[in-house]
Symmetry: C2
Subunit: 353 residues, 2 copies
C-alpha cells in the first residue's frame, strides 16, 4: 500500500488521500489481508510499516518533496517481488516504474490535478489497473477496473438528532471549494456560518474571505482534529458545499451525512452520486437555490441521513470492493505486460490533453 | 544517452547540460560508438534519436515539466535491455529506476542544485557509477569513477589575436554568477562592459542590474546564438567571471580561453582547475583584485590561451575519457546490484543533508 507522503498516514487533521489509505489498510488487515504500508515514518498502522521519509513534506519543511517522493516510491518497486499486488495512492509518477517489475500495479486515481497528467495514465492504461473514486471522475480515455466510493469510519461520527442552528463550511479554504459562496448563502439567509479547514489559497483568504469574517455571524476556526470535527458536523443544521469544480469525491459530505447533518451542495462532479436529493441533502446550482434549500432543511429526516451513510459509505463496504478488485487482478494476468513495448503514440504530445 | 528535456539537444542558445550531451553524443558516434539519444523531439543527432516529449519545457510552456520528465526518463529504463550502458545527464531522479534493471547506469553529476538532493546519490552510490565534472564539485560522501572536464567544439570558437577593448560578462543573469560584481569591476576600471545571457532571476535583473545599464558603457544584449557568441568572446579584452558560488564547471570560461580571451574569475569552485593563473587568466577574490587583474591583461599571451584550450578542453579528450569509463564499467560488473537490498539508512533522514 503506497501512501502519499504529504501528511502522516492517517493524517492528524487534513490529508484526505492519506486518510483513505489508512482506513483501507486497517480495514484490509481486519479482514485478514497481509498489508505492508509504505508511508512517512511517523505513520500508524497495525500492519507492517515500511518507511524511508521520516515525516510529511507538508508538515516538515526540511523534507524536500521531490527528493523524498522519488526515494519513497522507488522503494516499493525495489521490493516488488515480496508483494502480490502494489496498490498505489500516490498519483501518476509511480506508474512510470511499473513496467520494470512483474507485480501488478493498481492505482486509485484520487483525482486529476490537471488534464496535463492524463498522458501518463494513458501510456500505462494497457498494463496497469485503475480505480476511480466516483463515476463522475472517470476520464473517458481510460479503462477502469471499478469505481469504489470511499468509506468512512462511522464510529468517529456520532449521530446527532438535535443540532444547533448554524450552517457549516468544512474543507480547504480555496475558490474551488466555494468558501465565498458559502458566506454569501449564510449572509443572505441571515444564518450563522462556521468555517473550518486549512487555508490552501492565502491570497483568496486574505482578500476575499477575511474581510467577511466578523467573529459572530461568520467565524473562521482553522483546521480541526477528529474530536472537534465530530461535534462541529453533528451540531450543524446543514453543511454548505457550494463547490466550483468537479470534485471527484467529498469525504466531508459523507462525514456530515453520517452525523445526520444534510448537505446543500452545488451539483458538480460526484455530488449526485453521494447526496440523495431531498433525502440526505439538496443538489442546487446557484446561491439563490441554496437559500431555498436552507429553508427546506426541516423536511430532511436526520436519521435517514445516518442510515444512508451506514448503508452506502462504510469502510467495510470499501474494503470488500477492493478485495474483489484484487481478486480480479490476480485472476487476470493477461493484462499485465501484454503491451510492454507500447510507448506514447508519436504526435500525441502534450497538446493532446 | 539520457539528455535533459529543458531545452533541445543541442540547445539553440542556453542549455549547458544539453550542450555537453550533444558534444559527447556526436563525438562518441564519430569514434564508432553506437549511441541512442533520448532527448526532445526537435533534437538533432547523427545517432538514433528516441523521443517522447516533443519540445523542451523551458521553450514550450505547454510541456508540463514533471509529467514529461518522468515519461521521458522511464522510457530509457523500459528499453534498458537494448543497451550496454545507460548514461544519465538528467540529475538524480533517474537513479531511482536503476535497481529495477540489469543495465549499468552511469550518471554525470552536472552539479548539486542543493545539498537536499544528496540522499538520492548516497542511496545509489553502491550500485551505480558517478562522474564529477570537476574535482571541486565532488561530494565527499560519494564514490566517483572519474572526474571528466567538459570539452568544447573548438571549431566554433575562433582564435582572435586582436581584440577590441571591451570587457565581457557571458552567462545567466543571476546573483550566483556575479552580474552586479562584473558591472562594478567595469565601472571602477572605466571600461566598457557587454552583458550577454538569459535572465534567470527577474527581480535581480529589474532591481539591481537594469538601473546600471546605460547602453553605452554598460550594455545588455540578451542571449546570443553560436555565431554571435564566437565574435563576442573573441573580440573581448577579457571575460569577467566574478561568481558568488562554487561553480561546478564554467563552459563559458573555456569557450573564452579558446578564442584567446583571458578570464578574470573569482576563485571559487572549479575555477582553479580551468584557469591557469597568470597564463590564461587571473584568479582573484575581490572586485579590487579584479581591477588590478584588468590592468595586468596585457601580460597574457592570447595564443597561449588558445593553445591551452586545444590541449586540455577538446571534445576528443572528453570522448576518450568517457570511453575509458565505459570500458571500466563493463569490466566491473561486481558493483552492479551488489547491494540491491541496501536501502536508505534509518535515521539518516532529511536532516542529514
Amino acid at each position: 500500500m503506497l501512501s502519499p507522503i504529504a501528511w502522516r498516514t492517517p493524517p492528524r487533521h487534513y490529508g484526505p488521500w492519506e486518510r483513505v489509505v489508512s482506513l483501507l489498510t486497517e480495514g484490509l488487515i481486519a479482514a485478514g489481508v497481509e498489508v505492508t504500508l509504505f508511508a512517512t515514518g511517523d505513520s500508524l498502522t497495525r500492519g507492517n510499516l515500511h518507511t524511508v521519509c521520516p515525516s510529511g513534506y507538508e508538515e516538515d519543511k526540511s523534507v524536500d518533496p521531490h527528493v523524498w517522493s522519488v526515494l519513497h516510491m522507488s522503494e516499493v518497486f525495489e521490493q516488488a517481488e515480496k508483494f502480490d499486488i502494489i496498490h498505489n495512492h500516490f498519483d501518476f509518477t509511480p506508474l512510470t516504474y511499473s513496467r520494470l517489475i512483474e507485480t501488478p500495479l493498481l492505482t486509485t486515481i484520487h483525482g486529476f490535478s490537471s488534464p496535463r497528467i492524463l498522458p501518463v495514465y494513458q501510456k500505462y492504461d494497457s498494463t496497469s489497473f485503475y480505480v476511480s473514486i466516483s463515476d463522475a471522475d472517470r476520464a473517458p480515455e481510460l479503462d477502469y477496473i471499478a469505481t469504489i466510493h470511499h468509506g468512512i469510519d462511522l464510529e468517529n461520527f456520532t449521530f446527532n438528532p438535535q443540532p444547533e442552528d448554524y450552517l457549516l463550511y468544512f474543507g480547504r479554504v480555496h475558490p474551488d471549494k466555494g468558501t465565498r459562496e458559502a458566506i454569501d448563502i449564510a449572509k443572505q439567509c441571515d444564518r450563522r456560518l462556521i468555517i473550518a479547514g486549512i487555508i490552501q489559497d492565502e491570497s483568496y483568504f486574505r482578500e476575499v474571505i477575511q474581510p467577511k469574517i466578523d467573529d459572530s455571524q461568520i467565524r473562521y476556526i482553522g483546521s480541526v482534529g477528529p474530536d472537534q470535527r465530530d461535534l462541529l458536523l453533528g451540531n450543524a443544521l446543514a453543511l454548505l458545499h457550494p463547490i466550483n469544480f468537479a470534485e471527484p469525491f467529498g469525504l466531508s459530505v459523507v462525514e456530515s451525512i453520517a452525523c445526520g447533518t444534510p448537505v446543500i451542495a452545488f451539483n458538480k462532479g460526484s455530488m449526485s452520486e453521494i447526496i440523495q436529493h431531498g433525502k440526505t441533502g439538496f443538489l442546487v446550482s446557484t446561491v439563490e437555490e441554496a437559500m431555498d434549500a436552507v429553508d427546506s432543511i426541516p423536511e430532511i429526516d436526520r436519521r435517514a441521513c445516518r442510515e444512508d451513510a451506514e448503508r452506502r459509505f462504510t469502510v467495510g463496504r470499501m474494503v470488500d470492493q477492493y478485495i474483489q478488485v484484487y481478486e480480479q487482478i490476480l485472476l487476470k494476468p493477461e493484462k499485465r505486460h501484454e503491451d510492454k513495448n507500447h510507448s506514447v503514440i508519436p504526435g500525441r504530445g502534450p497538446g493532446y490533453a
